[in-house]
Symmetry: C2
Amino acid sequence: MARKYELECPIASTLDIIGDRWAILILRDFFLHGARRFQEFEATLPGLTPSVLSARLKSLEVDGVIATRTYEMHPPRVEYFLTPKGRELGPILRAMRRWGERHARGDHAGANEDG
Amino acid sequence: MARKYELECPIASTLDIIGDRWAILILRDFFLHGARRFQEFEATLPGLTPSVLSARLKSLEVDGVIATRTYEMHPPRVEYFLTPKGRELGPILRAMRRWGERHARGDHAGANEDG
């Protein structure tokens, strides 16, 4: 993924790698389902086109968050999986899940509170 | 921010609100600096245009993550601040910071490991 920020900030560094919405949802699927084939993302991520999926997987691979392994079958089976660096993204996704569970879509409670 | 996903998933719900890179960096500034005026973001977020900043602040306000207060001065002083719902995003940003500190930009160690 392109380096978009000229900021020496670890949050910006993280966003350089996982700052794309689809990237995070792709990572979510790895945490939920483990190693995956390209086609398996289609079932869980409606709206994600093959070209965008391909670009995001390549970007995550270049950044060392995921890697691939190939099984010598006919046809060959290629699987994507999280690297150790990728698995360490778990706390970010868990924090996102917790916040989403607590503040469901459309819940604007607290909008005008100060405290 | 537009609802981009047709997914009943709390992570997707969270991304609907903070899935934009600039939104997360704006939130970072609230956690670092507290209540802020519009102009103060310019110093800490080079590259963020006023129109994008304005759109992101409005979106975060509509979603109840930030709110505004106005001080009756000449000229009036408007401050943006995190709501309680917004402050609960702290664990997500802390997890991003920790990951970024550990996996600095350009560090691709672990890319080909499986384990």
